[in-house]
């Protein structure tokens, strides 16, 4: 048992740190365990069976649909109009520009399902404006990556869909429960933006009320998206997958019929971009599912929890939630969030449920930790996205992150200490 765990850990760490594509450490460790330890019991062909089984749950169909809707919106008019509306209201206040950035990154990140895509699509155009206004490189970059990560908590969150599928938790309830902590983080971020802007000139004059009214009217149709997603799921009209499909239809209708800047002939090209982003995620989902299967077949999670960590269902609320939080946080400092959710959820979810902890609360806590870990030095993958996208040095990118991490950790502790932060809205929407 210890030999097997050591081998898995060794292979994973070696290949991961060497910079292999992330499906390789997963696939190599799975293959090695099957060939070395179980060669007589099961054929390694089971990897492919588990891979296909991992990517075909119906709920996962929502993933490419939300990504497609976001791709249509960002290439069309809807995204820009939403941004203008936010800017018309807060653009002139002290810290208004970074606040606009924070809110926009979180909103679009939620839709697009890819922090990388958000950093490029929203952070890309807003960052030069932040720099022009006098904000530092490290503050601007840290703001963009951290706000894009908050998107994991705001529906429709791809991370929550994956968590819901793996753990069997209601995705609709997870969506609703993420709203409270997500908003609290955005409020904290906006407060920090204001503090960081002390002594700075406001870059733009205040918009007049007629201008605001016009910006709001221009954004009235795009504002229908949250209504479709939240309203549809909340009222029980749509499942999350159906809400995703309606979002696609609505986005295409808006851009092609109402705004008329896009033609249907552009759709295949947009779909190709969606397909590439989706495939990169689903390759990890498939390889992660196979890996998950093999470690549970080898009974490693049980050994890890009870023998190594000494954690049981009787350990109590705080030890269990703390262990889960730390595990997901540390995992995401190294690996893509989707991989961490796929691998760690089957290990920790059962013990939390056995201890009587609400699975929705666990899901929100996990998603929050994943968001924090992704932007935490030394290895958080979003740091490298920012290094790559903005071509800035690593040291500069990480310099601006500590205040954001501190705020996020404060919310994480608050959430564990005060579960209604997440569960209040859930209980309101799903009584009983």
């Amino acid at each position: 048992m210890t030999g097997m765990a050591a081998m898995i850990l060794g292979i994973m760490l070696l290949l991961l740190l060497a910079g292999f594509p992330m499906m390789v450490p997963l696939a190599a460790a799975t293959l090695a365990v099957l060939v070395v330890f179980f060669s007589g019991d099961v054929t390694p062909a089971i990897i492919i069976q588990q891979w296909i089984g991992g990517i075909t749950p119906s709920a996962l169909i929502a993933v490419p649909m939300f990504i497609l809707a976001a791709d249509v919106m960002t290439r069309g008019q809807a995204a820009g109009r939403l941004l203008d509306a936010v800017a018309a209201f807060v653009g002139h206040v002290r810290g208004g520009l970074p606040m606009t950035t924070a809110v926009s990154c979180a909103l679009f990140g939620a839709m697009s399902g890819s922090t990388q895509a958000t950093v490029v699509a929203i952070g890309g155009p807003l960052r030069p404006r932040l720099l022009d206004a006098g904000y530092s490189q490290s503050f601007s970059t840290a703001l963009i990556i951290n706000a894009s990560d908050v998107a994991l908590l705001i529906p429709p969150s791809i991370g929550m869909i994956v968590y819901g599928v793996v753990s069997g938790t209601s995705i609709g309830e997870l969506f609703i429960a993420g709203v409270g902590p997500g908003l609290l983080i955005l409020v904290l971020f906006c407060g920090y933006c204001r503090v960081a802007s002390i002594g700075m000139e406001s870059p733009v004059a205040a918009a007049t009320w007629p201008q605001r009214w016009q910006a709001l009217r221009r954004a009235i149709f795009p504002l229908g998206f949250p209504a479709v997603v939240m309203g549809g799921i909340y009222s029980g009209i749509f499942s999350p997958t159906e809400a995703a499909a309606v979002c696609v239809l609505y986005a295409v209708f808006l851009e092609v019929v109402i705004y008329r800047q896009m033609t249907l002939t552009m759709l295949p090209r947009i779909a190709l971009s969606t397909g590439l982003v989706t495939a990169v995620v689903f390759v990890l989902v498939g390889a992660g599912a196979a890996f998950s299967w093999v470690i549970s077949f080898a009974r490693i999670p049980q050994a890890l929890l009870t023998e190594t960590l000494g954690l049981t269902a009787q350990s109590g609320y705080w030890p269990i939630m703390t262990t889960i939080s730390v595990a997901f946080f540390v995992g995401c400092m190294f690996v893509d969030p989707i991989v961490v959710i796929l691998i760690l959820t089957p290990i920790f979810h059962p013990i939390a449920v056995a201890a009587g902890i609400d699975p929705v609360l666990v899901g929100v806590a996990v998603t929050l930790q994943v968001a924090i870990g992704s932007a935490t030095p030394p290895f958080g993958c979003d740091i490298f996205t920012a290094v790559a996208v903005f071509r800035r040095p690593y040291a500069e990118v990480i310099r601006g992150t500590p205040p954001f991490i501190a705020m996020l950790l404060a919310v994480a502790v608050t959430l564990v200490a005060f579960p209604p932060l997440a569960l209040f809205l859930r209980d309101l929407a799903f009584p009983g």
Partner: protein, 212 residues
């Protein structure tokens, strides 16, 4: 995206007929992959939207839409595996790799692409094994009435093409100056996906390092 990649690969003016043939084959395969990826996404969209209408207006769900969407997801995943390999788009943790000097990075890239290729070839083998097993069991899908083995056959195909992509990347790294994520894509950071990689042509290879 597709056009620029064609230019990258043809700008080398391949001398051997074998290499020219390989380049043409690569371009054709990439085009087919793009069509499959794009149409899978649009098919999933059409199916899920149709299902919403059917369920809300007519009051029942179509079994066939769910099944078509699932098949499209399988096609998407395994086609995209190879396509993303060709584009150098698979997610990697490059914290340590990025800190290495160029010579060491080139050596690492040879190891990464060759080992990845070997593992993907092994997975291809097991995928064939799995498809053959499914063929022997002989089930058909409930709604479309298509044999399962046909639906799953895309798995070994995609794994095989991805393995070939990484093998080609190894060859490219061994035969050309510069560092390459794939046969046509140089290592380096890009902001715009539609732009060809700055150092994709071998004569500008050393600028791959300057790209950072």
């Amino acid at each position: 995206m597709q056009r620029s990649t064609c230019n990258d690969s043809t700008s080398r003016r391949p001398t051997g007929s074998l290499e020219r043939l390989a380049t043409h084959a690569a371009v054709i395969v990439e085009r087919i992959e793009e069509i499959l990826l794009s149409s899978s996404v649009l098919l999933i969209a059409a199916m899920t939207i149709a299902n919403v209408f059917c369920r809300s207006l007519l009051g029942f769900s179509l079994a066939v839409t769910d099944e078509v969407a699932q098949v499209a997801i399988i096609v998407l995943c395994f086609t995209g595996l190879s396509y993303a390999a060709g584009k150098g788009r698979h997610i990697r943790m490059t914290a340590i790799y990025d800190m290495l000097p160029p010579v060491a990075r080139k050596g690492m890239m040879v190891v990464i692409t060759s080992v990845t290729s070997a593992i993907l070839f092994a997975l291809t083998w097991y995928a064939v094994d799995y498809v053959v097993t499914v063929y022997r069991l002989g089930g058909i899908s409930p709604a479309l009435r298509i044999p399962f083995w046909m639906l799953y056959a895309v798995a070994p195909l995609g794994l095989f093409l991805a393995a070939v992509q990484y093998a080609l990347a190894t060859v490219k790294n061994l035969t050309s100056p510069g560092i390459f994520l794939s046969f046509t894509r140089a290592d380096g950071y890009e902001t715009d996906d539609d732009q060809p990689a700055p150092a994709a042509a071998p004569e500008t290879g050393p600028s791959a390092e300057a790209a950072e």
